[in-house]
Symmetry: C2
Amino acid sequence: MAKIAVLGYGTVGSGVYHVIKTNSGIVEKNANEKIEIKYVLDLRDFPGDPVEDVLTHNFEDIINDSEISVVVEVMGGLRPAYEFTKRCLESGKSVCTSNKELVAEHGAELIETAEKHGVTYLFEASVGGGIPIIRTLISSITSERILEIKGILNGTTNYMLTKMSKEGLEYGDVLKEAQEKGYAERNPSADVEGHDACRKISILMSLALEGQVDYKDVHTEGITEITKTDMEYAAAIGKEIKLLGVGKNSKEGSYVMVAPFLVGDESPLYGVRGVFNGICITGNMLGEVMFYGKGAGKEATAAAVVSDVIDAVRNKINPKRIKWACEKVALLPFENIPQSKLIRIESLDTEAGKKAVESVFGNMDFIQLENHDDEFAFISPKQSEAELDEKLSMLLNKDNIDNILGTIRIEE
Amino acid sequence: MAKIAVLGYGTVGSGVYHVIKTNSGIVEKNANEKIEIKYVLDLRDFPGDPVEDVLTHNFEDIINDSEISVVVEVMGGLRPAYEFTKRCLESGKSVCTSNKELVAEHGAELIETAEKHGVTYLFEASVGGGIPIIRTLISSITSERILEIKGILNGTTNYMLTKMSKEGLEYGDVLKEAQEKGYAERNPSADVEGHDACRKISILMSLALEGQVDYKDVHTEGITEITKTDMEYAAAIGKEIKLLGVGKNSKEGSYVMVAPFLVGDESPLYGVRGVFNGICITGNMLGEVMFYGKGAGKEATAAAVVSDVIDAVRNKINPKRIKWACEKVALLPFENIPQSKLIRIESLDTEAGKKAVESVFGNMDFIQLENHDDEFAFISPKQSEAELDEKLSMLLNKDNIDNILGTIRIEE
């Protein structure tokens, strides 16, 4: 019998309680022993909830109980989750978490602490909800040089972009509806400004590169500037706009970024819509594989946490070693990354405006939407951000180029 | 240093050799020791190939060498692969394989043999090529009751169906082309009659149900009867025809089948085209997750085999226990499975024919293709195979129903 504690009885915490109770037989069979929740830590009371029997308000109850071998940390945020996790590991308790902020910030250090004390720090649920992507990176894709990880990592923004695309709505209206439905937070910035996706791609790339990809080094753009007209351009070229986390690893070095991309139907990410996540991994032998599923949701995320608990219980004697060193990985400067973009140009005389574009970029195919007489777009050839910025500055000085209305990267 | 032997220097065998040589550093790091190929067994000679240095024609060299801790069996077929595998396991050597025929037929027994001798029998590459689906079932989806596995498991037939759909070609022409390109064998029956997909879904469902799903019990239909006109009906209702392996596990019992299905774009399998595989797993907590990638190919399959080798080396002391008992799982009779189908009716007087259909099935929406005046189709309500067959017999006795041209199941 393994006794565990759960820190936090919010959405994921109550989900963990539910999964362990509902699937107790399966959990026991796979862990090779019964798993019992001895404590749930939360500051609140839950009168009438069966959790009352095991509820405590005091973390010391847990840390001082030598029967507890595994602790589930699903509080979120850095404080006090970091101290609690660190103390648990130091006292020989494995920790399983869904806390992406903490993993992105202190993952390498906590893995090291765990190893030092002969236990494990597991975080399957921190990326992709129920999709078993972390375990795949650690345990399955082991004979590969990983060349690329690319994914739709945030369900809220994917839901919003899908809705804008399918229903022709503006960003603000879709955000309002997502907030009403509870898909987006009242303060949505972590999702819509790309910070959540940034933490997730940083975790994945840290595992791929076996060092610390610092999320603060990752160039991150959100979806707040995406408009209904951008969606019309996307449709006109047979693509959809998705917020992607992208990490590449080549001989020249590695880079990581988060930004909206135009994705075509030759990509398996094209069909990933609504609240779903999709993560593509390209290996030097494997080619491209994709993992798809709901990236959030109480039970899916909880199921991923419980799989980690089973792992921790099963491997008590021989805990899993995760390669993620504390040393920071140096990323290539963002400005050097070659990319092609859809560029929207405002021009009262679009025919003259197109000539001006060609005087800077050479011959181009232009995209002219119906009902938009005062603008057009083109797809810039692949070049570095720095080169493109320079050309766009030149362009802005030309006659008949009134403004650059926006640029969106093309996925490839 | 772990010394291994490879049985068979065909496509996958030479791929394994290539992956271990090319990615030797990564392989060593993940296995925690260097991996050296000491023998490759093949009856043929390979003059000038570097494999010559380690080539043997005699299996006894391998079985008698106590230095060999892991054997890769990539010969295919049942004989002598079964005897070789059994003898390796009995002499304390783990075996890693891509041989789906052998795994489907003797998997449970060989796992038992391995456990008895403190080693492992691993078979990641037997399903889905490089997609890490077996390891996911064994190691990741451990807190779940698996409710359904559904997948495009055969790249050859998916390539053919995609080609028929996109280019409006007939089955025979596409088969010929696939054979010329080397995607289909000269005797294509294992692929086109669904036997390959059947073995794969049987392996996956055996792992999900932890008992022997005998592939001989699985109702299996291939794609040989699919026509260009079927593809036109599919397009008319916004669906695509895919050969699916389907396993369901409910309170009433389990069933497994392989057949062509009409798949709509609400399914993540809809976008799985060409030589790609896609496998959906639905858990009672997790919801639906999908795994996608190239289902075959020398390097992808070899990479999956090498991941197993790394697992076997890394877990020498504490080998993985795989739950797949020898006892046969009783499957629900195929005739009881409720399904809805697209039914194509030949009728010289289609208006009268449609009335005849409604006299048996009640009010229906009919699908009438242009340029097909002598036939129409409808989608039957969800009912058991047995009930539907009875109704179709009644229908055939009606006036103005000249023939039933075909039926295709609807995926849901």
